[in-house]
């Protein structure tokens, strides 16, 4: 087959992808949000550096607690942005020593999880942890939707991630109201990855979780996004973190949100600290 024939075949293959039906404004909005997030990130780093200096000064001066001001907005002259990022509130704790960096030692389960994730895949049949994903769905349904009429795992997909500290896995569940249009989303993740709670929430939901809530004897981190979205993080006794993101709009699957508050916060607080939320175990363990 010559070059022209390859080009024609690839062209024919690409042509079956429906590339129509997009709205340029969506791309502009996403670009603006990314631009603003970059700027906030730079500004946030400056604020954090200032906070460290301030915190050190307070510690040397005998203690005290201050509150960092929110970071500045975008630079003058920049585009007006409709960002979904929410700058987390930073509470200074001068008496607390900074965490000591440690070199994580991956355990057998961590290695097994990474091996499963690194295996080549080409379709749904290759997505790992099927039993775990279904168990996670059943756990979420038992807490959020005992009647089984709202929550679906129609994506049957897996969200995954990893860093030097560990591995994170999660699923996205759809929420439908019988007789009504639209679809909401509940995302459930369990992770042994590192990073701060704020970073973890921002990675999952695009916004932080600056509020502290006490529920059932546990301390939870909670954050609010746009359009009724919220996120709850719980650090389990073994150090793993479970995260539940609730969004009235399942962005990839629907253009119509369900009603805000379709899931009660109390139920989400129960789900996020449910002891069935755990990472998959290797078959031998």
């Amino acid at each position: 087959m010559n070059e022209t024939e390859w080009a024609e075949r690839l062209e024919a293959l690409a042509a079956r992808e429906d590339a129509s039906g997009f709205d340029v404004r969506d791309d502009v909005a996403r670009g603006r949000a990314r631009l603003l997030r970059n700027r906030v990130g730079v500004a946030g780093a400056a604020v954090l550096a200032g906070a460290v200096v301030l915190g050190t000064g307070l510690a040397l001066g005998g203690g005290g607690t201050g509150h960092a001001a929110p970071g500045p907005g975008p630079a003058d002259g920049g585009p007006t942005a409709t960002a979904t990022y929410h700058e987390p509130q930073v509470t200074l704790r001068p008496s607390a020593p900074p965490p000591t960096p440690t070199t994580p030692v991956p355990d057998a389960r961590d290695a097994w999880l990474r091996t499963q994730l690194d295996r080549p895949w080409s379709g749904p049949q290759d997505i790992p942890f099927k039993a775990w994903r279904n168990d996670l769905f059943r756990t979420a349904r038992s807490v959020l939707d005992p009647s089984g009429t709202h929550l679906t795992y129609s994506s049957a997909g897996l969200n995954s991630g990893s860093d030097q500290h560990g591995v994170g896995l999660g699923i996205k569940l759809g929420w439908a109201e019988p007789g009504a249009a639209g679809q909401g989303m509940v995302q459930v993740e369990v992770t042994s990855e590192g990073g701060s709670d704020q970073e973890r929430c921002a990675l999952t939901g695009g916004f932080g979780c600056p509020r502290t809530v006490h529920a059932g004897g546990a301390t939870l981190k909670v954050g609010n996004g746009d359009g009724g979205a919220f996120i709850v993080l719980y650090r389990q006794p073994d150090g793993e973190r479970s995260v539940v993101l609730v969004d009235p709009l399942f962005g990839n699957n629907s253009r119509t949100p369900v009603r805000a508050g379709f899931v009660s916060r109390q139920d989400v607080y129960r789900l996020v600290r449910d002891d069935r939320l755990d990472l998959p175990q290797p078959p031998s363990s």
């Binding site: 390859w6 080009a7 590339a19 997009f22 670009g31 585009p79 080409s122 749904p124 991630g161 990675l203």
Partner: protein, 169 residues
């Protein structure tokens, strides 16, 4: 550059080029959902870099590089990967006979390592020269030539029996 000017120029670019970006992304990853994610990621970065790449006249090259690198990174690192399953609920659509060749080609493409696949798409879909492909991928022209050769040989091996059979050979 003022935001409104950036928005206007970027919108014009998206309107004219998004379809091809989406199709190239589909060839790279073989999945419509992931292709859309790749395009969105690419266009976000294009928007952020717009004043610079517009001034340098490198919009198209920048978009290609961002897309290919994002795809290769996605295949290399599991972090923030989303795999969509729809097992048992969204059954695979029945393939009309006329699409058989395309399915075979997509399956053969999926067997290629990510960089070989990217090389084929850049060379034979985007129509780049060996030198341009080498620049985009950050490798030597020799690497591009050898990866193209390996990739096309593999595709030939996978597809030839089918083509021979269809042509009654």
């Amino acid at each position: 550059m003022r935001g409104s000017a950036r928005d206007a120029e970027f919108s014009e670019y998206v309107a004219g080029r998004r379809a091809q970006l989406r199709r190239a992304a589909y060839l790279l990853c073989g999945d419509s959902h992931r292709a859309e994610d790749l395009v969105q990621t690419t266009l976000m970065k294009v928007y952020v870099a717009w004043p610079r790449i517009r001034r340098d006249g490198s919009i198209e090259a920048y978009a290609r590089r961002v897309m290919v690198n994002a795809h290769v990174d996605d295949t290399r690192r599991p972090w923030r990967r989303e795999r969509v399953g729809v097992e048992g609920l969204d059954v695979e659509a029945r393939v009309p006979p006329s699409a058989e060749d395309r399915d075979l080609l997509m399956a053969a493409l999926a067997e290629l390592p990510p960089r070989q696949r990217a090389t084929v798409v850049l060379r034979h879909y985007w129509g780049l020269s060996v030198e341009e492909t080498a620049t985009d991928l950050g490798v030597s022209t020799g690497t591009v030539k050898s990866q193209t050769s390996h990739a096309l040989r593999h595709l030939e091996q996978v597809l030839s029996p089918h083509y021979d059979e269809r042509q009654g050979r």
